[in-house]
């Protein structure tokens, strides 16, 4: 599994020169065209909706129902965002430690860390989610204090596991992408290994790690609706409950489109920003 990152990863482009060439041109595309395209798609969806609604009063009643459920659905959406932020925080903290362990010169540590990383990167998100939901206890006792672990916290932990593995690969890729000359000159200047890492290598890595890290965050946010499958009440659950309460099939497409639209509005700017940063730091070419 060593160096498997060249095939499996999300944000480890640094480790593979031919991959780098791929990401470069992909980052170029016209935002105008994309927005027009999305606009056209939404317009088509609207037209389909109008055709489906037939009469305009039908359309108005659909919009009224959507308006009624919107606050509740948006609350659910905010909960998804909260889960994504928490999972990202936990995943980043643990992933950074794991990533640094992966570049450790002490071989048992480095082997173990890359094994853990590859394992969690290769496991499907949904399976890890099920794993945490079913196998974590419903409460944990830490130093005599019993802390309840509700489903949503277990789900957040479940989502943070693949994030951890991917952050670990991002850290490894970034550290290894720093030219060897940097290490050698630091050694010549009598820096210890720890000093070299913290004062010379990592500050340079931060810039390189930011775009893939943001990309990972967007991927995580898009994975958060999975928690509805394991019984945590999020935007998806609320939407399905609303649809069940109304019981009208013509609501299905508009309601799901609304939810898709919110996620798009949240994730698309992140993707654009990531591309802008990639170009600015010029790390992918």
């Amino acid at each position: 599994m060593k160096n498997g990152s060249t095939v499996t990863g999300i944000g480890q482009s640094k480790s593979n020169p031919s991959h780098q060439r791929i990401v470069g041109p992909a980052a170029r595309f016209s935002p105008g065209a994309a927005i027009t395209g999305v606009g056209a798609a939404l317009l088509a969806a609207g037209a389909a909706l109008a055709a489906l609604g037939g009469a305009s009063e039908e359309l108005i009643s659909i919009l009224a129902i959507m308006w009624k459920w919107m606050p509740l659905m948006f609350e659910g959406f905010l909960f998804n965002i909260l889960v994504s932020v928490l999972a990202m925080a936990i995943g980043t903290a643990s992933g950074a430690v794991l990533g640094l362990a992966q570049v450790s010169p002490f071989w048992p540590l480095h082997r173990l860390a890359s094994l853990v990383t590859q394992f969690f990167r290769n496991a499907p998100w949904l399976v890890l989610l099920f794993y945490c939901i079913f196998l974590l206890p419903f409460e944990a006792t830490i130093i005599g204090v019993t802390v309840p672990l509700p489903g949503w916290i277990k789900a957040t932990i479940g989502l943070s596991l693949p994030v951890m593995a991917n952050v670990s690969e991002i850290v490894r890729g970034a550290v290894q992408s720093v030219p060897a000359g940097q290490w050698e000159s630091a050694e010549a200047l009598a820096f210890s290994r720890r000093q070299t890492m913290w004062m010379i290598i990592l500050p340079q890595c931060l810039k390189r790690m930011l775009p893939p890290w943001m990309n990972l965050y967007a991927i995580l946010t898009m994975a958060t609706p999975l928690i509805s499958i394991v019984g945590v009440e999020d935007a998806m659950t609320v939407t399905r409950q609303a649809l069940a309460a109304e019981g009208r099939t013509e609501l299905l497409i508009p309601m799901y489109s609304l939810l898709l639209g919110w996620f798009f509005l949240y994730c698309y700017p992140i993707a654009r920003w990531t591309q802008a940063l990639e170009r600015r730091f010029n790390v992918t070419i």
Partner: protein, 248 residues
Amino acid sequence: MDAIYDWFRLLNDEYGINFAVFYDPFYRGRFFNGLLMTVWLSAVCIVLSIAIGLVGAWLQGSRLRLLRVVIQGYIQLFRNTPPLIQLYFFFFGLGSLLPPVTNEYGAQVPPIGNVTWAIISLSFFAGAFNVEIFRAGIEAVPRATVEAAEALGYSRFKAYIHVVFPLALRFSLPALGNNLVNLVKFTTLAYAIAVPELLYVSAQIWSDALNVREMMNLLLVIYVAIIGLLVLVLRRWEHALRMPGYGL
């Protein structure tokens, strides 16, 4: 085989570690069918998503602005929205628009089943990434190489088949492999619309045999093994296609 089955039965009787899928033929059959469904879903989606990627990348080179805009819109919409909601949108949303048909028992059933919707939805999701990947691969082919092919009398189409595509494929392979691995991981989403793939049958088995812990661990190991195998195959392929001296 029987010795292995007996060993697992003993493990259950003596230690209460219940791997029912190994010693119980009923669970074993179910589990195996689930595994086959996962492999089938993955294989079909890989082929379809690559086809979508190739067609999309080709259409993006079109002179028609409208066509390019439509493709770009498709890519951005599918890349930046959650795959689970896409699946629900296809299965419940679009599925509800289609008129039901009567099957041979006289029951009203939807014309497109859940397995087909899962294949459609996952293929479009992964296809959106593949379009970008292939286009980047085609753009990475040096202009001079294409001009050299033209100078040698290749037509535009022949140059594409014999010169551009073989190089573009090699440029695209690492990113493509990445995406295909993600696609196989995302086949678990089909659980949400009751496609009897590995995760779904496992959920049925652990609620029947009450062995959540054992099934969960087995499931995790099997998925990691399937994906590890895919990674290995892709790496072999990449290695076999290598062209020394071309930076590939």
